[in-house]
Symmetry: C2
Subunit: 332 residues, 2 copies
């Protein structure tokens, strides 16, 4: 309200000049620019960056939309992305959608309203909402459109790795706990797993979890595993869900890995804290985070990004929930 007047007074220039400067609506000489900038500095008035962002689409904020910050994989990812973008002078506006489509749409509007420089969206449920934003967008896992760069691990291959490891460890009665079906990454893992099982003529039982992680899962979906004793191998679609499954086995006094072997997916930090520690398929959070941050910064700078689909290699991380000891990559 009076801020612009105050700056004008402080700088000894007219308010129209300050307005032209802040809103970039006309010529302001270098001399006056300097005076205004110094006045802004002195009055500790900070809207210029933001005001410029409004009209020039040039804020130093990158929006990061994640489905659930409680998933250890997503929160590690957020930390890595922040580390990379902050070195390039950007801050992260972190939005948590709780896996709700409406919340994601809401946050896209909020980010657009705040004129973010770019958006990184993780396991998005939106499509056209991103396509007309006029803001660089990079997607992790979900394919949004032909124009938007998608980074994903090769989830089909990851599912294959998981099956082959359980098979080599001697499992023949296997159940796969899969996750929300709207996620192509999760269905890809499932498909790779089933395909490989089919080659070995092993029939896989399937269980569906409605969510990748919520505390309620402990009390609802997990009951579907009532007859867990009849299996000798379980592949769970991510680590935090695997932690829930392991805890459930322990409550039922089913021994891991002696009676049932378990493999997760992600290689998030929770795997190391579990006892026994979790064998899993790594989708390198470091590599994924750096790639996402790098691509969005390049797009913001107007550089060309050649590949529209960037694939990250999955990798087996052998720990204690499966038996085979040789050929392994040991975690901490």
């Amino acid at each position: 309200m009076t801020n612009m007047r105050r700056i004008a007074k402080e700088a000894g220039v007219g308010i129209a000049t300050v307005s032209r400067y802040i809103n970039n609506t006309g010529y302001v000489s270098d001399e006056l620019k300097k005076k205004i900038e110094e006045a802004i500095e002195r009055t500790n008035y900070r809207p210029n960056e933001l005001a410029r962002a409004i009209f020039n689409r040039n804020s130093k904020i990158i929006g990061l939309i994640v489905p659930n910050i409680s998933n250890p994989y997503f929160n590690e990812l957020a930390l890595i992305i922040e580390e990379v973008v902050s070195k390039a002078g950007y801050s992260i506006f972190l939005c948590n959608t709780n896996d709700e489509l409406e919340k994601e749409q809401h946050y896209i509007n909020v980010l657009q309203g705040h004129r973010v420089a770019g958006i990184i969206t993780v396991r998005s449920r939106c499509k056209e909402e991103y396509t007309f934003l006029g803001v660089p967008v990079v997607s992790f896992e979900s394919v949004i459109s032909d124009e938007i760069v998608t980074v994903a691990t090769d989830n089909v291959k990851g599912g294959k790795l998981a099956f082959n490891h359980l098979y080599e460890c001697g499992c023949r009665e296997i159940v796969h706990v899969s996750g929300p079906i709207y996620s192509s990454a999760i269905t890809d893992r499932c498909n790779g797993f089933l395909k490989e099982a089919d080659k070995k003529q092993i029939t896989i039982d399937l269980l569906q979890f409605d969510t990748d992680f919520q505390r309620k899962m402990l009390e609802s979906n997990i009951r579907a595993l009532e007859d867990i004793e009849k299996y000798d191998g379980i592949f769970v679609f991510n680590d935090i869900a695997a932690a829930t499954v392991i805890r459930y086995c322990q409550l039922k006094k089913v021994k891991i890995p002696e009676e049932v072997q378990v493999i997760g997916y992600d290689n998030s930090y929770i795997g190391e804290f579990l006892y026994p520690s979790l064998t899993t398929i790594e989708q390198s959070v470091q590599e994924v985070g750096i790639t996402l941050a790098d691509v969005v910064i390049r797009l913001i700078r107007g550089e060309e990004v050649q590949e529209q689909r960037i694939s990250i290699e999955p990798r087996l991380i052998k720990r204690e929930t499966t038996k085979l000891q040789n050929n392994s990559v040991q975690g901490v």
Copy 2:
């Protein structure tokens, strides 16, 4: 740049009028206001909310500054706060400081620049940075100034509860793993614990972790626990650090709770996933989150908040890492 011109053209008014309207720097008749607003609507141009926020301090964003979103307690807290404020029409701009003072200062500037309606700051290291913001601030754990409302559990009492439980479980050779000394909440826990031990004439060994949670902790601080075998009880300053300690005991084949009993602090979700599951002191994340959100919204609305120090009662959650079975509150 051209946006304001475009709106002016669309509305059939002069660019100076649009500027006066957006920047609130002079009189605009109701008739012209309506024309401009309709033009903004038609051009799908969304700066008005933001432009108004700049000059009227009235955005619908609440900044939430946390030291480390990887700490399960802080990420549950973020989810709860978001749930509450979103019902009141606000969104959360989540900032992760990685426990770095400079990063916290930087994010305070960013939030101020984006004219957030209020700030919730968790275990802050800043003081005067918050006092001249002109934005409602609520603090969790850290006392910032007399004017800023602080919400905290009674950490001295929590420390006392932890000692008394270990004592009742038969522990006499006890070590306390404490955390970063800049946190008054953590030193309060320590002091309450030591005070109660003193009453029973038990000497407590002290160990200091530099951080409440980072993966590196696994490789550095933990080595200080080399002679873990000589203790029969450990109180760790939070759950995620307790998870690290438990994992270390397991690697050293020290049995929990048979040989050493462990109690954490927080009651974050990780405690239920551990095996054995973690006995801990709860500082209800639900109660803390709702209180923080409620206070900041009341302050934003200009309502008075009577108490400057709001204390949340801690509570013992008995699980499997300690022995005593009666008088217990069982977790899942």
